[in-house]
Protein backbone atom coordinates (compact mmCIF):
# COMPACT_ATOMS: atom_id res chain seq x y z
CA UNK A 1 0.00 0.00 0.00
CA UNK A 2 1.20 3.47 -0.81
CA UNK A 3 1.74 5.74 2.10
CA UNK A 4 -0.56 8.63 1.56
CA UNK A 5 1.04 11.35 3.58
CA UNK A 6 -1.52 14.02 3.09
CA UNK A 7 -5.03 14.05 1.95
CA UNK A 8 -5.99 17.50 0.85
CA UNK A 9 -9.70 17.89 0.43
CA UNK A 10 -10.76 19.64 -2.73
CA UNK A 11 -13.86 21.33 -4.05
CA UNK A 12 -14.04 21.32 -7.84
CA UNK A 13 -14.86 24.77 -9.20
CA UNK A 14 -17.73 25.28 -11.62
CA UNK A 15 -15.24 26.07 -14.36
CA UNK A 16 -13.53 22.76 -13.74
CA UNK A 17 -16.83 20.90 -13.66
CA UNK A 18 -17.73 22.48 -16.99
CA UNK A 19 -14.51 21.14 -18.44
CA UNK A 20 -15.35 17.70 -17.02
CA UNK A 21 -18.72 17.78 -18.74
CA UNK A 22 -17.15 18.89 -21.99
CA UNK A 23 -14.77 15.93 -21.77
CA UNK A 24 -17.44 13.36 -20.98
CA UNK A 25 -19.44 14.53 -24.01
CA UNK A 26 -16.71 13.17 -26.32
CA UNK A 27 -17.64 9.57 -25.64
CA UNK A 28 -20.71 7.48 -26.29
CA UNK A 29 -23.41 7.22 -23.65
CA UNK A 30 -22.34 5.04 -20.73
CA UNK A 31 -18.65 5.26 -21.66
CA UNK A 32 -17.90 8.16 -19.34
CA UNK A 33 -14.98 6.25 -17.82
CA UNK A 34 -13.10 7.16 -20.99
CA UNK A 35 -12.91 10.66 -19.56
CA UNK A 36 -10.83 9.48 -16.62
CA UNK A 37 -7.38 10.33 -17.97
CA UNK A 38 -8.31 13.76 -19.35
CA UNK A 39 -10.10 14.59 -16.10
CA UNK A 40 -7.15 13.50 -13.96
CA UNK A 41 -4.97 15.80 -16.07
CA UNK A 42 -7.40 18.67 -15.45
CA UNK A 43 -7.44 17.99 -11.70
CA UNK A 44 -3.67 17.76 -11.50
CA UNK A 45 -3.26 20.98 -13.48
CA UNK A 46 -5.54 22.66 -10.94
CA UNK A 47 -4.09 21.30 -7.69
CA UNK A 48 -0.59 20.18 -8.64
CA UNK A 49 -1.20 16.57 -7.62
CA UNK A 50 -3.95 14.02 -7.06
CA UNK A 51 -5.04 13.66 -3.45
CA UNK A 52 -7.18 10.72 -2.42
CA UNK A 53 -10.06 13.06 -1.85
CA UNK A 54 -9.69 14.48 -5.35
CA UNK A 55 -9.60 10.99 -6.83
CA UNK A 56 -12.65 9.94 -4.80
CA UNK A 57 -14.55 12.93 -6.10
CA UNK A 58 -13.54 12.10 -9.67
CA UNK A 59 -14.82 8.56 -9.06
CA UNK A 60 -18.12 9.92 -7.80
CA UNK A 61 -18.37 12.25 -10.79
CA UNK A 62 -17.78 9.43 -13.27
CA UNK A 63 -19.86 6.95 -11.28
CA UNK A 64 -17.05 4.44 -10.90
CA UNK A 65 -15.42 2.82 -7.85
CA UNK A 66 -12.65 4.84 -6.17
CA UNK A 67 -10.25 1.90 -6.58
CA UNK A 68 -10.69 2.18 -10.34
CA UNK A 69 -9.30 5.69 -10.16
CA UNK A 70 -6.41 4.64 -7.89
CA UNK A 71 -5.57 1.80 -10.26
CA UNK A 72 -5.38 4.10 -13.24
CA UNK A 73 -3.70 7.04 -11.54
CA UNK A 74 -0.95 4.80 -10.16
CA UNK A 75 -0.37 3.12 -13.52
CA UNK A 76 0.51 6.24 -15.46
CA UNK A 77 3.69 8.07 -14.59
CA UNK A 78 2.39 11.59 -15.23
CA UNK A 79 0.07 11.55 -12.25
CA UNK A 80 1.49 12.61 -8.90
CA UNK A 81 0.02 10.88 -5.89
CA UNK A 82 2.16 12.93 -3.53
CA UNK A 83 2.58 16.71 -3.43
CA UNK A 84 5.46 17.98 -5.55
CA UNK A 85 7.21 21.29 -6.03
CA UNK A 86 5.43 24.06 -7.91
CA UNK A 87 7.66 23.38 -10.87
CA UNK A 88 8.56 19.80 -11.64
CA UNK A 89 11.51 19.57 -14.01
CA UNK A 90 11.18 16.30 -15.86
CA UNK A 91 14.32 15.47 -17.78
CA UNK A 92 14.55 12.66 -20.28
CA UNK A 93 16.97 9.94 -19.19
CA UNK A 94 16.56 7.43 -22.03
CA UNK A 95 19.24 6.24 -24.47
CA UNK A 96 19.36 8.85 -27.23
CA UNK A 97 19.37 11.72 -24.71
CA UNK A 98 22.15 10.04 -22.76
CA UNK A 99 24.28 9.81 -25.91
CA UNK A 100 24.47 13.59 -25.86
CA UNK A 101 24.79 14.31 -22.18
CA UNK A 102 21.48 13.82 -20.36
CA UNK A 103 23.21 12.18 -17.40
CA UNK A 104 25.50 15.17 -17.00
CA UNK A 105 22.49 17.44 -17.19
CA UNK A 106 20.67 15.48 -14.48
CA UNK A 107 23.66 15.85 -12.22
CA UNK A 108 23.69 19.55 -12.94
CA UNK A 109 20.01 19.95 -12.09
CA UNK A 110 20.55 18.08 -8.84
CA UNK A 111 23.45 20.39 -7.95
CA UNK A 112 21.61 23.51 -9.02
CA UNK A 113 18.44 22.74 -7.07
CA UNK A 114 20.25 21.10 -4.17
CA UNK A 115 17.70 18.30 -3.87
CA UNK A 116 17.75 14.69 -4.89
CA UNK A 117 15.45 13.24 -7.52
CA UNK A 118 11.84 13.27 -6.32
CA UNK A 119 12.44 15.63 -3.40
CA UNK A 120 11.02 19.14 -3.06
CA UNK A 121 13.21 22.22 -2.48
CA UNK A 122 12.81 23.97 0.88
CA UNK A 123 10.93 26.85 -0.70
CA UNK A 124 8.45 24.41 -2.19
CA UNK A 125 9.20 25.65 -5.68
CA UNK A 126 11.05 22.83 -7.38
CA UNK A 127 11.15 19.09 -7.81
CA UNK A 128 12.94 17.21 -10.53
CA UNK A 129 12.98 13.67 -11.82
CA UNK A 130 14.29 11.63 -14.69
CA UNK A 131 11.57 10.43 -17.03
CA UNK A 132 11.57 8.03 -19.94
CA UNK A 133 11.82 8.99 -23.60
CA UNK A 134 9.90 12.18 -24.33
CA UNK A 135 10.01 11.67 -28.10
CA UNK A 136 12.28 14.62 -28.75
CA UNK A 137 15.53 12.70 -29.26
CA UNK A 138 16.70 14.96 -32.07
CA UNK A 139 16.71 17.95 -29.76
CA UNK A 140 18.37 16.19 -26.83
CA UNK A 141 18.88 16.68 -23.97
CA UNK A 142 15.34 17.83 -23.21
CA UNK A 143 13.19 18.58 -20.21
CA UNK A 144 9.54 19.49 -19.72
CA UNK A 145 7.58 21.32 -17.06
CA UNK A 146 3.90 20.74 -16.36
CA UNK A 147 1.02 21.44 -16.30
CA UNK A 148 1.32 22.59 -19.90
CA UNK A 149 4.45 20.47 -20.41
CA UNK A 150 6.47 23.20 -22.00
CA UNK A 151 9.58 21.84 -23.66
CA UNK A 152 13.14 22.99 -23.20
CA UNK A 153 15.44 21.56 -25.83
CA UNK A 154 19.16 21.16 -26.52
CA UNK A 155 19.88 21.75 -22.85
CA UNK A 156 23.19 23.05 -21.61
CA UNK A 157 24.27 23.89 -18.08
CA UNK A 158 23.75 27.58 -18.85
CA UNK A 159 20.24 27.02 -20.20
CA UNK A 160 19.28 25.05 -17.10
CA UNK A 161 20.62 27.78 -14.81
CA UNK A 162 18.78 30.43 -16.75
CA UNK A 163 15.53 28.46 -16.68
CA UNK A 164 15.67 27.86 -12.93
CA UNK A 165 16.43 31.53 -12.26
CA UNK A 166 13.58 32.65 -14.48
CA UNK A 167 11.13 30.36 -12.74
CA UNK A 168 12.29 31.62 -9.35
CA UNK A 169 11.69 35.18 -10.47
CA UNK A 170 8.33 34.32 -11.93
CA UNK A 171 7.26 32.77 -8.64
CA UNK A 172 8.38 35.85 -6.71
CA UNK A 173 6.60 38.37 -8.88
CA UNK A 174 3.32 36.50 -8.60
Amino acid sequence: MLSVKENTTVEFSLTLLDKFAETVARYPEGRQKSALLPILHLVQAEYGWLSVDAMDKVAAYLDIRPIEVYEVASFYTMFFLQPKGKYVLEICRTGPCCLVGAERMMQHIEDKLGVKEGEVTADGLFSWRGVECLAACGYAPVLQIGPEYTFYENLTEEKVDQLVDELKQKAQTK
Partner: protein, 336 residues
Protein backbone atom coordinates in the same frame (compact mmCIF):
# COMPACT_ATOMS: atom_id res chain seq x y z
CA UNK B 1 -24.70 -26.78 -36.13
CA UNK B 2 -25.34 -27.11 -32.44
CA UNK B 3 -23.59 -30.43 -32.19
CA UNK B 4 -20.74 -29.55 -34.54
CA UNK B 5 -17.45 -30.78 -33.12
CA UNK B 6 -13.87 -29.86 -33.80
CA UNK B 7 -11.24 -32.58 -33.90
CA UNK B 8 -8.12 -31.59 -32.04
CA UNK B 9 -5.00 -33.54 -31.22
CA UNK B 10 -3.10 -32.74 -28.06
CA UNK B 11 0.22 -34.48 -27.63
CA UNK B 12 -1.00 -37.03 -30.11
CA UNK B 13 -4.24 -37.73 -28.25
CA UNK B 14 -7.34 -36.93 -30.32
CA UNK B 15 -10.34 -35.27 -28.73
CA UNK B 16 -13.54 -33.81 -30.11
CA UNK B 17 -14.75 -30.60 -28.59
CA UNK B 18 -17.35 -27.94 -29.23
CA UNK B 19 -16.26 -24.92 -31.29
CA UNK B 20 -15.19 -22.09 -29.04
CA UNK B 21 -13.49 -24.41 -26.57
CA UNK B 22 -10.02 -23.32 -25.56
CA UNK B 23 -7.02 -25.59 -25.98
CA UNK B 24 -6.72 -25.79 -22.19
CA UNK B 25 -10.30 -26.90 -21.73
CA UNK B 26 -9.96 -29.39 -24.57
CA UNK B 27 -6.95 -30.82 -22.73
CA UNK B 28 -8.95 -30.95 -19.51
CA UNK B 29 -11.51 -33.06 -21.32
CA UNK B 30 -8.73 -35.54 -21.99
CA UNK B 31 -7.24 -35.17 -18.54
CA UNK B 32 -3.96 -36.41 -17.15
CA UNK B 33 -0.45 -35.16 -17.75
CA UNK B 34 -1.21 -33.38 -20.99
CA UNK B 35 -3.27 -30.72 -19.22
CA UNK B 36 -1.25 -27.50 -19.17
CA UNK B 37 -0.85 -25.93 -15.74
CA UNK B 38 -2.83 -22.74 -15.16
CA UNK B 39 -1.94 -20.22 -12.50
CA UNK B 40 -4.14 -17.33 -13.58
CA UNK B 41 -6.92 -18.82 -15.69
CA UNK B 42 -10.05 -19.67 -13.75
CA UNK B 43 -12.97 -21.02 -15.71
CA UNK B 44 -15.49 -19.43 -13.37
CA UNK B 45 -14.04 -15.94 -13.67
CA UNK B 46 -14.77 -14.10 -16.86
CA UNK B 47 -11.77 -12.46 -18.49
CA UNK B 48 -9.24 -14.42 -16.46
CA UNK B 49 -6.21 -16.05 -18.04
CA UNK B 50 -3.47 -15.21 -20.47
CA UNK B 51 -1.27 -13.54 -17.92
CA UNK B 52 0.92 -16.05 -16.12
CA UNK B 53 2.10 -17.80 -19.30
CA UNK B 54 2.53 -21.19 -17.62
CA UNK B 55 0.00 -22.76 -19.95
CA UNK B 56 1.93 -21.90 -23.13
CA UNK B 57 1.71 -24.62 -25.75
CA UNK B 58 2.88 -25.09 -29.29
CA UNK B 59 0.37 -25.21 -32.11
CA UNK B 60 2.17 -27.32 -34.69
CA UNK B 61 -0.78 -27.30 -37.07
CA UNK B 62 -3.24 -24.42 -37.08
CA UNK B 63 -6.23 -26.21 -38.57
CA UNK B 64 -7.29 -28.49 -41.37
CA UNK B 65 -7.98 -25.46 -43.57
CA UNK B 66 -4.81 -23.59 -42.70
CA UNK B 67 -2.24 -26.11 -41.52
CA UNK B 68 0.50 -23.57 -40.91
CA UNK B 69 1.89 -23.75 -37.39
CA UNK B 70 1.42 -20.71 -35.17
CA UNK B 71 4.62 -18.65 -35.12
CA UNK B 72 4.81 -18.31 -31.34
CA UNK B 73 3.83 -20.42 -28.39
CA UNK B 74 0.28 -19.54 -27.38
CA UNK B 75 -1.54 -19.29 -24.07
CA UNK B 76 -3.71 -22.39 -24.19
CA UNK B 77 -6.22 -20.88 -21.77
CA UNK B 78 -7.15 -18.10 -24.16
CA UNK B 79 -6.64 -19.72 -27.55
CA UNK B 80 -9.66 -21.42 -29.02
CA UNK B 81 -9.33 -24.63 -31.00
CA UNK B 82 -9.79 -24.94 -34.75
CA UNK B 83 -10.88 -28.06 -36.54
CA UNK B 84 -7.87 -30.25 -37.21
CA UNK B 85 -5.60 -28.32 -34.89
CA UNK B 86 -2.56 -30.14 -33.55
CA UNK B 87 -1.14 -29.04 -30.23
CA UNK B 88 2.02 -30.04 -28.45
CA UNK B 89 2.31 -29.61 -24.73
CA UNK B 90 4.55 -32.04 -22.87
CA UNK B 91 5.82 -33.52 -26.11
CA UNK B 92 7.42 -30.22 -27.10
CA UNK B 93 10.85 -29.44 -25.64
CA UNK B 94 10.24 -25.77 -26.53
CA UNK B 95 7.14 -25.69 -24.38
CA UNK B 96 8.85 -27.34 -21.44
CA UNK B 97 11.79 -24.97 -21.72
CA UNK B 98 9.51 -21.94 -21.90
CA UNK B 99 7.51 -23.19 -18.93
CA UNK B 100 10.67 -23.67 -16.95
CA UNK B 101 11.47 -20.06 -17.75
CA UNK B 102 8.08 -18.85 -16.62
CA UNK B 103 8.37 -20.74 -13.35
CA UNK B 104 11.77 -19.21 -12.77
CA UNK B 105 10.35 -15.74 -13.44
CA UNK B 106 7.47 -16.35 -11.05
CA UNK B 107 9.93 -17.35 -8.37
CA UNK B 108 12.57 -14.65 -8.62
CA UNK B 109 10.60 -12.24 -6.50
CA UNK B 110 8.80 -14.88 -4.51
CA UNK B 111 9.99 -15.11 -0.89
CA UNK B 112 10.09 -18.93 -0.87
CA UNK B 113 8.78 -18.77 2.67
CA UNK B 114 6.87 -22.03 2.34
CA UNK B 115 7.92 -23.16 5.84
CA UNK B 116 5.85 -20.33 7.35
CA UNK B 117 3.21 -20.07 4.67
CA UNK B 118 -0.29 -21.34 5.34
CA UNK B 119 -0.70 -22.21 1.69
CA UNK B 120 2.11 -24.75 1.75
CA UNK B 121 0.82 -28.13 0.78
CA UNK B 122 -1.95 -26.76 -1.39
CA UNK B 123 0.03 -24.13 -3.22
CA UNK B 124 -0.08 -24.26 -6.98
CA UNK B 125 3.21 -22.43 -7.30
CA UNK B 126 4.82 -25.05 -5.09
CA UNK B 127 3.45 -27.82 -7.28
CA UNK B 128 4.52 -26.02 -10.42
CA UNK B 129 8.05 -25.51 -9.14
CA UNK B 130 8.43 -29.15 -8.19
CA UNK B 131 7.30 -30.19 -11.59
CA UNK B 132 8.93 -27.62 -13.84
CA UNK B 133 11.37 -25.59 -11.84
CA UNK B 134 15.01 -25.93 -11.11
CA UNK B 135 16.32 -26.62 -7.65
CA UNK B 136 18.58 -23.59 -7.54
CA UNK B 137 17.81 -20.01 -8.33
CA UNK B 138 20.04 -17.96 -10.61
CA UNK B 139 18.64 -14.79 -9.13
CA UNK B 140 21.11 -13.13 -6.82
CA UNK B 141 19.45 -9.79 -6.13
CA UNK B 142 17.32 -8.43 -3.38
CA UNK B 143 13.74 -9.50 -3.75
CA UNK B 144 10.89 -7.09 -3.93
CA UNK B 145 9.28 -6.87 -0.48
CA UNK B 146 6.06 -5.64 1.02
CA UNK B 147 4.77 -5.78 4.58
CA UNK B 148 1.97 -8.26 5.15
CA UNK B 149 -1.27 -6.45 5.86
CA UNK B 150 -4.74 -7.29 7.10
CA UNK B 151 -7.36 -6.40 4.58
CA UNK B 152 -10.45 -6.77 6.68
CA UNK B 153 -11.02 -8.93 9.72
CA UNK B 154 -10.64 -12.22 7.97
CA UNK B 155 -8.14 -11.85 5.16
CA UNK B 156 -4.39 -11.48 5.25
CA UNK B 157 -2.49 -10.13 2.27
CA UNK B 158 1.12 -11.23 1.78
CA UNK B 159 1.94 -9.25 -1.31
CA UNK B 160 5.44 -10.78 -1.40
CA UNK B 161 3.91 -14.07 -2.44
CA UNK B 162 1.57 -12.68 -5.07
CA UNK B 163 2.06 -13.67 -8.70
CA UNK B 164 -0.41 -11.05 -9.99
CA UNK B 165 -2.86 -13.50 -11.48
CA UNK B 166 -5.68 -10.94 -11.09
CA UNK B 167 -8.11 -13.67 -9.98
CA UNK B 168 -8.98 -11.90 -6.75
CA UNK B 169 -9.75 -8.73 -8.66
CA UNK B 170 -12.13 -10.60 -10.92
CA UNK B 171 -13.80 -12.16 -7.85
CA UNK B 172 -14.41 -8.74 -6.37
CA UNK B 173 -15.65 -7.43 -9.70
CA UNK B 174 -17.89 -10.33 -10.56
CA UNK B 175 -19.11 -11.60 -7.20
CA UNK B 176 -19.45 -8.46 -5.16
CA UNK B 177 -21.05 -5.15 -5.94
CA UNK B 178 -18.35 -2.98 -4.47
CA UNK B 179 -14.80 -3.68 -5.45
CA UNK B 180 -12.46 -2.17 -2.89
CA UNK B 181 -9.17 -3.64 -4.00
CA UNK B 182 -7.35 -3.77 -7.28
CA UNK B 183 -3.95 -3.61 -8.90
CA UNK B 184 -2.07 -0.41 -8.28
CA UNK B 185 1.24 0.73 -9.76
CA UNK B 186 2.71 -1.14 -12.68
CA UNK B 187 5.42 -3.49 -13.84
CA UNK B 188 7.12 -5.38 -11.05
CA UNK B 189 5.95 -2.68 -8.64
CA UNK B 190 2.36 -3.62 -9.30
CA UNK B 191 0.56 -4.81 -6.22
CA UNK B 192 -2.78 -5.95 -4.99
CA UNK B 193 -3.99 -3.17 -2.78
CA UNK B 194 -6.89 -1.16 -1.49
CA UNK B 195 -4.59 1.88 -1.91
CA UNK B 196 -6.13 3.59 1.07
CA UNK B 197 -6.82 1.77 4.32
CA UNK B 198 -9.93 -0.03 3.44
CA UNK B 199 -11.32 -3.30 4.68
CA UNK B 200 -12.58 -5.87 2.25
CA UNK B 201 -16.01 -6.50 3.60
CA UNK B 202 -18.62 -8.12 1.51
CA UNK B 203 -20.70 -11.29 1.60
CA UNK B 204 -18.54 -13.06 -0.96
CA UNK B 205 -15.13 -11.47 -0.66
CA UNK B 206 -13.72 -14.49 1.21
CA UNK B 207 -13.64 -16.29 -2.12
CA UNK B 208 -10.49 -14.38 -2.96
CA UNK B 209 -8.76 -16.78 -0.58
CA UNK B 210 -9.96 -19.82 -2.48
CA UNK B 211 -9.06 -18.50 -5.90
CA UNK B 212 -5.59 -17.31 -4.87
CA UNK B 213 -3.17 -19.87 -6.34
CA UNK B 214 -0.49 -18.97 -3.81
CA UNK B 215 -0.34 -17.83 -0.20
CA UNK B 216 -0.90 -14.17 -0.96
CA UNK B 217 -4.44 -14.15 0.38
CA UNK B 218 -5.00 -16.38 3.35
CA UNK B 219 -7.72 -16.95 5.91
CA UNK B 220 -6.90 -15.11 9.12
CA UNK B 221 -9.21 -17.39 11.08
CA UNK B 222 -7.00 -20.33 10.04
CA UNK B 223 -3.68 -18.54 10.29
CA UNK B 224 -0.92 -20.69 11.78
CA UNK B 225 -3.48 -23.10 13.22
CA UNK B 226 -2.12 -26.13 11.42
CA UNK B 227 -0.30 -27.32 8.33
CA UNK B 228 -2.94 -28.36 5.86
CA UNK B 229 -1.64 -31.88 5.64
CA UNK B 230 -2.42 -32.41 9.31
CA UNK B 231 -6.03 -31.52 8.70
CA UNK B 232 -8.71 -33.77 7.34
CA UNK B 233 -11.03 -32.41 4.70
CA UNK B 234 -14.65 -33.46 4.84
CA UNK B 235 -17.35 -32.36 2.47
CA UNK B 236 -20.39 -30.92 4.18
CA UNK B 237 -23.36 -28.74 3.47
CA UNK B 238 -25.90 -26.63 5.22
CA UNK B 239 -29.00 -24.78 4.27
CA UNK B 240 -27.50 -21.35 3.66
CA UNK B 241 -29.72 -18.45 2.65
CA UNK B 242 -26.88 -16.71 0.77
CA UNK B 243 -24.92 -19.39 -1.06
CA UNK B 244 -25.07 -23.05 -2.03
CA UNK B 245 -23.77 -23.97 1.40
CA UNK B 246 -21.66 -26.75 -0.11
CA UNK B 247 -18.27 -26.63 1.52
CA UNK B 248 -15.25 -28.54 2.66
CA UNK B 249 -14.59 -28.57 6.41
CA UNK B 250 -10.97 -28.97 7.41
CA UNK B 251 -10.79 -30.90 10.66
CA UNK B 252 -8.02 -31.29 13.13
CA UNK B 253 -9.29 -33.70 15.70
CA UNK B 254 -12.79 -32.60 16.42
CA UNK B 255 -12.24 -29.00 15.60
CA UNK B 256 -13.13 -27.40 12.31
CA UNK B 257 -10.10 -25.23 11.63
CA UNK B 258 -11.36 -23.71 8.45
CA UNK B 259 -14.08 -23.81 5.88
CA UNK B 260 -13.43 -23.57 2.16
CA UNK B 261 -15.39 -24.04 -1.00
CA UNK B 262 -15.12 -27.47 -2.57
CA UNK B 263 -12.47 -27.64 -5.21
CA UNK B 264 -12.15 -29.77 -8.29
CA UNK B 265 -9.06 -31.49 -9.60
CA UNK B 266 -7.88 -28.22 -11.18
CA UNK B 267 -8.15 -26.49 -7.85
CA UNK B 268 -11.15 -24.49 -8.94
CA UNK B 269 -14.09 -24.11 -6.61
CA UNK B 270 -17.23 -25.97 -7.56
CA UNK B 271 -19.39 -23.15 -6.23
CA UNK B 272 -18.42 -19.94 -4.51
CA UNK B 273 -19.46 -19.74 -0.87
CA UNK B 274 -20.47 -16.84 1.32
CA UNK B 275 -18.42 -15.36 4.10
CA UNK B 276 -20.88 -16.48 6.78
CA UNK B 277 -20.29 -20.11 5.84
CA UNK B 278 -16.56 -19.54 5.53
CA UNK B 279 -15.69 -17.50 8.56
CA UNK B 280 -18.55 -17.81 11.01
CA UNK B 281 -19.86 -21.33 10.75
CA UNK B 282 -17.20 -23.46 12.28
CA UNK B 283 -19.12 -25.79 14.54
CA UNK B 284 -19.69 -29.30 13.31
CA UNK B 285 -23.21 -28.95 14.61
CA UNK B 286 -23.87 -26.36 11.94
CA UNK B 287 -23.17 -28.77 9.11
CA UNK B 288 -24.40 -31.91 7.48
CA UNK B 289 -21.31 -33.96 6.83
CA UNK B 290 -21.12 -35.90 3.60
CA UNK B 291 -17.87 -37.73 2.95
CA UNK B 292 -14.12 -37.31 3.03
CA UNK B 293 -13.04 -34.93 0.34
CA UNK B 294 -11.22 -36.71 -2.41
CA UNK B 295 -7.66 -35.56 -2.56
CA UNK B 296 -5.29 -36.18 -5.42
CA UNK B 297 -2.72 -38.87 -4.78
CA UNK B 298 -0.04 -36.39 -5.73
CA UNK B 299 -1.03 -34.01 -2.99
CA UNK B 300 0.86 -33.89 0.24
CA UNK B 301 -2.52 -33.67 1.98
CA UNK B 302 -3.09 -37.19 0.78
CA UNK B 303 -0.09 -38.33 2.82
CA UNK B 304 -2.45 -38.42 5.72
CA UNK B 305 -5.15 -39.96 3.67
CA UNK B 306 -7.94 -42.08 4.96
CA UNK B 307 -10.77 -43.73 3.15
CA UNK B 308 -13.05 -44.26 6.06
CA UNK B 309 -15.04 -41.45 7.46
CA UNK B 310 -14.56 -41.33 11.17
CA UNK B 311 -17.44 -39.27 12.43
CA UNK B 312 -16.47 -36.84 15.11
CA UNK B 313 -17.86 -37.88 18.49
CA UNK B 314 -20.21 -34.93 18.53
CA UNK B 315 -22.27 -36.63 15.87
CA UNK B 316 -22.58 -39.77 17.91
CA UNK B 317 -23.83 -37.74 20.81
CA UNK B 318 -26.36 -35.70 18.93
CA UNK B 319 -29.43 -37.47 17.66
CA UNK B 320 -30.34 -34.79 15.16
CA UNK B 321 -26.90 -34.88 13.60
CA UNK B 322 -27.01 -38.64 13.50
CA UNK B 323 -30.15 -38.47 11.44
CA UNK B 324 -28.74 -35.87 9.14
CA UNK B 325 -25.64 -37.96 8.58
CA UNK B 326 -27.43 -41.26 8.45
CA UNK B 327 -26.34 -42.23 4.99
CA UNK B 328 -22.74 -41.41 5.69
CA UNK B 329 -22.71 -43.31 8.93
CA UNK B 330 -24.16 -46.35 7.28
CA UNK B 331 -21.47 -46.25 4.64
CA UNK B 332 -18.82 -45.93 7.28
CA UNK B 333 -20.20 -48.97 8.99
CA UNK B 334 -20.17 -50.92 5.72
CA UNK B 335 -16.58 -49.99 5.04
CA UNK B 336 -15.48 -51.15 8.43
Amino acid sequence: MADEKFKVTIDGIPVEVAPGTTILNAARQVGGDIVPPAMCYYSKLEGSGGKCRTCLVKVSKGSEKDPRPMPKLVASCRTTVMDGMEVQNITSPDVLEARKGVVEMLLINHPLDCPVCDQAGECKLQDLSYEHGVSQTRYEFKRRTFEPIDIGDNIKLHMNRCILCYRCVYVADQLTSKREHGIINRGDHAEISTFIENALDNDFIGNVIDVCPVGALTDRTFRFKSRVWFTKPVNAHRNCPTCSGKVTLWYKGEEVLRVTARKDEYNEVEAFICDTCRFETKKTADWVLEEPTSISKQSVIDANHYDVFNPPPVIKKNLQLQEANEEQLERTERLK
